[in-house]
Amino acid sequence: MKRTLLFLTLAAVLIAGCAPAQAASVPSFETSVSPEAWARVPAGKFLMGPHNHETLIDYDYEIMATDVTNAQYARYLNEALAAGKIKLTGSQIVGYYPGDVFHNYKHEKRIDAGDWLYVPLDERGLRLAFDGKTFAANPAYENHPMVQVTWFGAKAYCESYGWRLPTEAEWEKAARGTDGRPFPWGETIARNNANYYDSRDPFERGLGKQGDTTPVGFYNGATYDGYQTLDSASPYGVYDMAGNVWQWTADIYEGVHYRFMRGGSRGNYDYNLRVWTRNDARPDYYGPSVGFRCAR
């Protein structure tokens, strides 16, 4: 009897442990930072990587002031669907990609021309809904970064407006400016600088330390229901360059099928938010902490 009770208790604990946590309700905040805004980055040298290697970007460019939001991506999907640029295959949104040059390096995988996944529609953590005709962002997440999007989906979004994904160098310069700082706002990180693991923002309540995405531009020095943020823009006025979601970048390197991401996410410890930290994944990878922004 005792053994049965012990077994049942353990089983109950394990089942409870595996049940996904749910926030009671998603807080809704306007951040006053427009996701339509762009920041200009002037041509010139900057210090790249942890060892501050002097790197030149010899052209001016602009980068989105925030990550692409769910509302923006839903708008794009509706336009692209109407224009026949994307297809629905089962529960997947797919689109054409011309393929990578294959070098047959060790561990390299072929990325051939064809239809590749943009967004999986049935994936937990996706904040979009599709009623058979129209895509719409979940109202509570309209101004949160678009997630569960592959590199193909991110690239297609940017290119559909005549833009592109930023290269790693462009991304890093936009994040840290020219003075070699490790975080967009300066030398050290505090909990109210960014959305990271156990940063104790309002979106962690009820969900645990990984929490949820925060609205883009959330860390702008404003106070939300008593939660004071620090203004965490980069020297060029770019927000969310540390934490919240990883951001796809454009570079394709010889012999590597992976694509690289920057910025760290809500699921990472603070040191992963240093501007030079990289993550990588297959271009058809998607995750609830992976988003992007564009450059032009």
């Binding site: 409870a16 442990g17 595996c18 049940a19 996904p20 946590a21 942890p50 060892h51 501050n52 390096y105 060790k106 561990h107 390299e108 995988k109 994936e123 937990r124 953590g125 070699g180 490790p182 975080f183 030398e187 050290t188 693991y197 156990d198 969900l207 645990g208 330390k209 990984q210 390197y253 010889e254 012999g255 590597v256 992976y258 991401m261 699921g267 990472n268 410890y269 603070d270 040191y271 992963n272 240093r274 990289r278 993550n279 990588d280 994944a281 297959r282 990878y285 995750g287 609830p288 902490s289």
Partner: protein, 491 residues
């Protein structure tokens, strides 16, 4: 003054004292520096430590600091193993004294000045003294290899139940010698890139370059170095446990050649990572198989011996299965030292092999950060397993008996094993759960990891406090041990 001299003599001349200081230094380092990351950072302890201790943590130097920390702890662990070896393996007294003295200065210099340099500021003298410490360790290694030379006639095997080669060469001694020699070569493999990266302060962690298609020879050398050093530390503690159990007989005669050849082959494989990365893995697998087989034979012998000795002690001639198990579990220190070797296969070798076999099919479908978590967890666990075996041996050496022996032994076994399983589930969580649903699983695995490791740390603290309190006693256990050692020398 005499009281201080006596205690100094105990702590820096006796194997027990030297090992105690080494373990205490590792414990202290772990206690301080573990506050800088993981749950301790989450709880805000990091900020307190940094403020209280006046640390100067520059974000860009994190990787470099960690490299200094790893070396500091590794040198202390190597020193502890060297103390065990010089006490267990016959050698000349002056050799023993030279080796122990050099290795003690070596690890203390490395640890104190390395950490000072890394965490409190950049003074070139500190860095120089850190390098001096590493150089002393190398010199101690050379001296140890000379002392372990197996072909001297006085070290030939006289009891033929021990593994021996042509001319009665002691194969266990040869295994120690091979391990020491392999370590020296592997040190060079690390020292070359170390001097390059160290000079430019362009340090990196190997787990951050895993998916780079082109690794430079120096990057490959770092990867080879860190792997082989941990393997050789593991081989060393396995040989120490062999001596502890007085491993002999048929299994010993098979295990020792396997250890010698396995050590040589793995080392060769690790060195060949630089010029022939593609085939190096296969050589490493072959060597690992031999060493793991040797460890298995030691475990079989050791378990049998534990049962036989206990039953003989109890005067039981024909034991039931239950009595045999009771005898096996009777001494958690000795059982634990072997059990951890078995358990390692489930928590470290098993997942490691799985990862190697399914690398492209499964692991590399995940983001790089996930692979990094597995690698980091993998070698942290291997290090922790080695540390627990060292603790078991030291606790026995320190004369822990009765209930304290039982509590310490079982708490370390259960605590560490729970933590290792939890870490395994955590690091391989993508096999069965997506990121969007992972938080409860992460919370549970972290809880069990913290509880398990916390238990081990508390037990370690208790052991250290026990010996520290004893040192303050006029006629404590230390005095008795000092007297015993003096008696042994006079005999």
């Amino acid at each position: 003054m005499q009281a201080i001299t006596d205690r100094f003599k105990y702590l820096f001349r006796l194997t027990k004292g030297l090992a105690l200081v080494g373990i205490a230094m590792v414990a202290l380092t772990t206690a301080i520096f573990s506050t800088l990351s993981g749950p301790m950072a989450e709880w805000g302890i990091k900020d307190i430590s940094v403020r209280l201790l006046g640390m100067r943590l520059v974000e860009a130097e994190r990787e470099g600091r960690i490299v200094m920390l790893y070396h500091s702890i590794a040198m202390a662990v190597i020193a502890i193993e060297v103390y065990f070896i010089t006490a267990l393996v016959p050698m000349k007294d002056n050799q023993r004294l030279t080796i122990n003295t050099t290795v003690t200065f070596g690890y203390l210099f490395t640890m104190i000045f390395g950490l000072w340099f890394g965490y409190w500021g950049h003074n070139w003298i500190l860095h120089g003294l850190f390098l001096l410490g590493l150089s002393l360790m190398l010199f101690a290694g050379i001296t140890l290899s000379v002392a372990l030379w197996p072909w001297r006639t006085e070290y030939r095997v006289t009891d033929r139940t021990y593994a021996h080669g042509p001319g009665e060469i002691d194969l266990e001694r040869t295994a120690f010698f091979t391990m020491a020699l392999a370590t020296l070569g592997s040190v060079i493999v690390g020292a070359i890139p170390g001097s390059y990266f160290g000079n430019g302060f362009e340090s990196f962690l190997a787990e951050n370059v895993i998916r780079q298609p082109h690794k430079t020879p120096l990057e490959l050398a770092v990867i080879g170095h860190l792997h082989i050093m941990l393997v050789l530390i593991a081989v060393a503690i396995m040989l120490v446990v062999s001596r502890w159990f007085d491993f002999r007989g048929a299994l010993h005669k098979v295990a020792m050649p396997l250890t010698i050849w396995g050590t040589l082959i793995i080392t060769l494989g690790a060195w060949l990572v630089v010029p022939f990365e593609a085939i190096a893995h296969y050589i490493i697998y072959a060597g690992s198989t031999l060493v793991m087989l040797a460890a298995l034979l030691l475990v079989i012998y050791g378990f049998g011996k534990l049962i036989r000795d206990r039953l003989a002690e109890q005067g039981i001639q024909k034991a039931s299965l239950g009595q045999k198990f009771a005898a096996l579990f009777h001494d958690p220190l000795k059982f634990g030292s072997l059990w951890q070797m078995v358990f390692m296969n489930f928590t470290t070798s098993g997942p490691g092999i799985f990862m190697a076999v399914e690398l492209d099919k499964i692991i590399r479908q995940w983001p790089g950060r996930e692979e990094r978590i597995i690698l980091t967890g993998h070698w942290h666990m291997l290090s922790a397993i080695i540390a627990t075996i060292i603790l078991f041996y030291f606790a026995d050496l320190a004369g822990l008996k009765g209930k304290a022996r039982q509590w310490l032994g079982w708490l370390i076994i259960v605590g560490s094993d729970i933590a290792f399983v939890a870490v395994d589930i955590f690091e391989l969580k993508r096999l069965f759960i997506g990121e969007a649903s992972q938080q409860p699983l992460v919370d549970w695995t972290m809880l069990f990891t913290d509880l398990g490791l916390g238990t081990v740390v508390i037990v370690l603290a208790a052991l250290m406090i026990w010996r520290l309190v004893d040192l303050f006693k006029k006629n404590g256990r230390w005095k008795q041990e000092l007297a015993e050692a003096a008696q042994e020398v006079s005999q």
